[in-house]
Symmetry: C2
Subunit: 218 residues, 2 copies
């Protein structure tokens, strides 16, 4: 009995995710799902990204947070529509919340939706929210062993952003070991190194985004 | 119906946690539950702690990991009994696994049990595992806003270890804002600053542990 209930919940999440995928495909909107530990730098990444893309694309944001509107407030100044989903303690976003959030946007005028998931390297990787791709955000201060220790996200992701590389010199981060582990988990996974705070590495990330938008717009 | 099933699961976790609490109290064993994000420095903290305490106390370790035995292998050289709980993707430890793990120790000869929970600032805080206290491990590279953004752990914890303070000068960490938030969430919460990698701040942490052992041994 208990297992059945879990299955129903998971199926319903995947069903809604599939509906969202079809809807965004039809509307030619790129939606990416940013996943990483607390403090990996997801909000700072979004700040820098919005600075680069404003005026060029029409962008909307879905902010997932356990509590507070701190991240949403940080992004307010860029003038994009933002929906904040306060999970009230829950550890990940699900597709039903995303579907509700999408209704708040004038979708026909949107090119890119950034979803900042709850800061968590484990649970958000398990839940499809209808995104075009999951993007793993990892900071070097978390350590080179994290892909092997939390493998699901790195298997599922279409891009890995390695952030805070400006701090690498002050840590024991072993880049060779890191790259070997990533290669073993997901040989297809491109890695872009960034130091968002100092605007390093933003260009390759913007290029990646623009390539995806071009693909989707067809 | 669905809500009932969830309640049963939660109750069963709390029931087992209460059994464990009674058992450890009777056996006069201190069990602490280390909780923090991936890369907060929990395993390095344990390495330094074992170096300091070996020969003085009899210690046992329960390692929670989503995948791999990397952390358990790092601790093997200290010669303590270690039980590794591979959660196979699950995001936190539950009391039933802890109860099974405790059977593996010669409990009458154990003074302290360190549980290293799965790297996750959200879910482990929700699950009592029968510990004497939850200890929050946060690294300054995660940012000063984390207590307010992930409040449950900081409300539940009996001690906050602020790690990687050697890197504070290279970050935007605002200590005043951090302390204010912690004070608001949990006015009773002592904070110890550490840089485990450089052996800074280990002494106050060891003192805290020894005080708890003394309390328990009575």
């Amino acid at each position: 009995m208990e297992i059945k209930v879990m299955k129903n919940i998971l199926n319903s999440n995947q069903d809604k995710a599939n509906e969202i995928k079809d809807y965004l495909k039809e509307k030619k909107v790129l939606m990416v799902n940013l996943i990483g530990s607390p403090g990996a730098g997801k909000t700072t990444l979004l700040e820098k990204t919005l600075e680069h893309l404003k005026g060029k694309y029409s962008i909307a944001i879905i902010e997932g947070d356990v509590a507070t509107d701190r991240d949403a407030r940080r992004l307010q100044k860029y003038g994009c529509p933002i929906v904040l989903i306060n999970t009230d303690g829950a550890c990940h976003l699900e597709s039903i919340s995303i579907q509700n959030a999408l209704h708040e946007f004038d979708i026909d005028s949107v090119d890119i939706i950034f979803v900042e998931n709850v800061g968590n390297l484990v649970c958000p990787a398990e839940f499809d929210i209808g995104e075009f791709s999951k993007i793993a955000v990892l900071s070097v201060t978390e350590g080179d062993d994290k892909p092997e220790k939390y493998p699901l996200l790195f298997r599922e992701a279409k891009l890995l952003l390695l952030n805070k590389v400006d701090l690498m010199q002050f840590t024991d981060f072993d880049k060779e070991s890191f790259s070997k582990d990533v290669q073993t988990l997901n040989g297809q996974l491109p890695v872009i190194e960034l130091a968002c705070r100092n605007n390093e590495g933003i260009e390759p990330w913007i290029n990646w985004l623009e390539e995806q938008v071009t693909k989707i717009k067809g």
